[in-house]
Symmetry: C2
Subunit: 416 residues, 2 copies
């Protein structure tokens, strides 16, 4: 097992002004490669703290983020060069890259920008394709030190294009014994039911580590297999397991290596299909999700946010009878919302959500967390009632959105 420590450097992290998304992203990537993150720390831009954190690392790989920029509080590079007892020298290739970067943006280079091309003499620079601060890679006394910028897009670019392969290689040469992970995404089946249906595989394949990772869009099944097993079996074990899982819960499995949303978008694009939304309690969150990516106009036409009953009647022609007899939060209203939405936008599919997100607004018959989602495919409506127990508006809304996408996904898939 090769252990990794992540050190996130930046004053802004410790006053709570910035959420540390880098650490979580890196942890996921590193785990998937087969490395084990054993600690992740946030410290200020402070020399002593950085050195203390480096010194107290038992891990063999240390990754820092932050403090590589051109301003005076960016001290990571200096501290690292001191720590490695290795002077800073200009990397001519990087200097060229920095110059080109500024040229392409029509910006003037300052002295501080020249410093961006410096690296400890024993280190290797890592190209940054989206910014000016290169990463730094150093092998020193049996340990690997990797320094990345704190801007998430730059950190991710360098990690994906430069660091990932180096770490894979390091792992192969330094460990006989590490786990390789594959993730199978599922949607629409609760964790307990899912575990019940496939737990005998867990017993049968004792060499495989099963983990169930629930999220609002569904449960991810993470399979961990020792690298030695993989090599002997030429990936057969993963394939065998995937097939078995498909036999057991196939209709809930999402296409390989795809999140629910990505898979849904792919299906829509493949089939040249469009979608529209009619939202009540989620207030636009479903539309926001569908327009998350550039180019979403290929499949997303638009939507209505009918938060009040008045707007449900005026914009969606929901009949007063339906609202009076069944209420705004009902199967009937959800269905009418979906059907009428489809007719307004003339899309292949439409989705509606109406419910009580809480924490107030519940009643004995319809407690907080009662939410109806409906999908209409131009011929038939599909409805699901959610009974979300959590007294948490934010998570109830997020769950409803993901469940609605899940229902759309399964509706399209079934009609294939």
């Amino acid at each position: 097992m090769i252990e990794v420590k992540i050190i996130s450097i930046g004053d802004e992290l410790l006053i709570g002004n910035t959420l540390n998304t880098n650490s979580s992203w890196l942890s996921k990537e590193l785990t998937n490669i087969g490395l084990t993150v054993t600690s992740s720390v946030m410290i200020p831009d402070d020399k002593e703290r950085i050195v203390h954190s480096l010194n107290s690392s038992k891990e063999s790989i240390i990754i820092t983020t932050g403090g590589l920029g051109p301003t005076k509080d960016d001290i990571t590079k200096k501290v690292i060069s001191n720590y490695l007892d290795s002077e800073l020298v200009t990397d001519e290739n990087q200097l060229e890259r920095v110059k080109n970067y500024f040229k392409s943006k029509n910006r003037q280079l300052k002295q501080s920008h020249f410093d961006q091309a410096l690296k400890p003499i024993i280190s290797e620079s890592l190209n940054n394709n989206v910014g000016t601060a290169p990463g730094i890679y150093t092998e020193f006394r049996d340990k690997v030190y990797i320094n990345l910028p704190g801007v998430p897009s730059e950190m991710k670019d360098i990690f994906e294009n430069e660091v990932k392969n180096k770490l894979r290689h390091y792992l192969k040469s330094n460990s006989n014994d590490y786990f390789i992970y594959k993730t199978i995404y599922t949607t629409g089946l609760p964790e307990s039911e899912l575990a019940e249906r496939i737990e005998h595989l867990d017993d049968q394949y004792s060499q495989v580590k099963f983990a169930y990772l629930p999220s609002s869009s569904g449960v991810k099944i993470r399979l961990g297999i020792l690298n030695s097993e993989i090599e002997n079996n030429e990936q057969n074990l993963f394939k065998t397991l995937r097939n078995k899982i498909n036999e057991l819960i196939g209709s809930y499995v999402i296409e390989e290596n795809n999140s629910l949303f990505e898979a849904t978008i792919e299906l829509l694009i493949e089939r040249n299909s469009t979608v529209s939304v009619a939202e009540s309690c989620t207030g636009g969150g479903l539309g926001k999700q569908f327009t998350e990516k550039s180019g979403s106009s290929a499949y997303f036409e638009g939507g209505v946010i009918t938060y009040s009953n008045k707007s449900k009647m005026k914009l969606l022609n929901i009949s007063k009878e339906t609202l009076d007899n069944f209420g705004a939060v009902s199967e009937q209203t959800a269905k009418e919302m979906a059907i009428n939405c489809q007719q307004i936008f003339n899309t292949n599919y439409s989705i509606s959500i109406t419910g009580i997100a809480g924490p107030n607004g519940g009643s004995p018959e319809k407690p907080v967390g009662t939410i109806f989602i409906s999908v209409y495919n131009g011929e038939k409506t599909f409805v699901e009632q959610l009974n979300l127990s959590k007294n948490n508006r934010e998570s109830n809304r997020e769950y409803s959105i993901q469940k609605a996408i899940s229902l759309l996904y399964r509706t399209i898939k079934q009609s294939l």
Copy 2:
């Protein structure tokens, strides 16, 4: 200066399956009290790691989150009791609370739930109003140990109702010398301009630490004053500064202690006013924001997501001429969207957003990041053009939403 270390405990944090929002929330709260967070670490549910992390703390206050639940991987309490060399005993008050909690939820108590009422004999339990795991507070050998659950709502509840005052008290008795912070929220003025207009105050009041914290909704001005200065001046210094800042940039200052969104909602409620939205590139994100809180039907009527030109014409009656002559991303279209939206929903105010969020879809005349926002108050439209330079769809959309709320806020405020 009293230093704090935050230790977030949980395997899920280190495989990247859960984003650590607790640490960031706690850091902000602790900083506002006047404490200094000097490190924040994430470690797995592992005895050795927890002990190592406790041992290597130089800080005088140590706050842990996570590992207090009833399942077998929740080991924090056992480890702490060992570390403090203090046996676990049942806290009868807490046992009563746990029993009542389960009774109120109609759930059966298991043995593991009885363990929730255990605490180290030298420690004090901290009431949890939203879950079953109490927090634990211990003063031991000149240090304070606070153990909180990992579920954010439970952690926040205990911190706000039980921990905050204890820490304030601790700070007063143990330090002569700490900063008290006040934050002034502003909106609509870029950081550089804001700094330029008030930087002479920074020089004039050398005893005050000025910090500018930019976010998508505006710039927060954080003023830090030593507690001794405060006591001598009976809060006068904060008041003086607030008045001076009001004189200099008053129209951009948000009501005291309120975020932009909160302040806007308060204005709408006070004036018994309603709002509707017409969104293009934000795809529903503005509506989602307006419905974030329970009770939002008091001020939010609904909206349309007109992502395609077709839907802009059909739902919002945007004229073909406007779209042909000026384009969907233009001042004219933004204005028409706002006016027609107000007429559909019959609200006091309406907001529209149309733009190119990127990363694709730009042109030489209208590059990525060109976004128009408009507010209509039933009489007049106000429009702002944003030229967001970032090639980042997510942040461009978030900025547009916040700028739109900012324009609404200033529109309502000016008409007061």
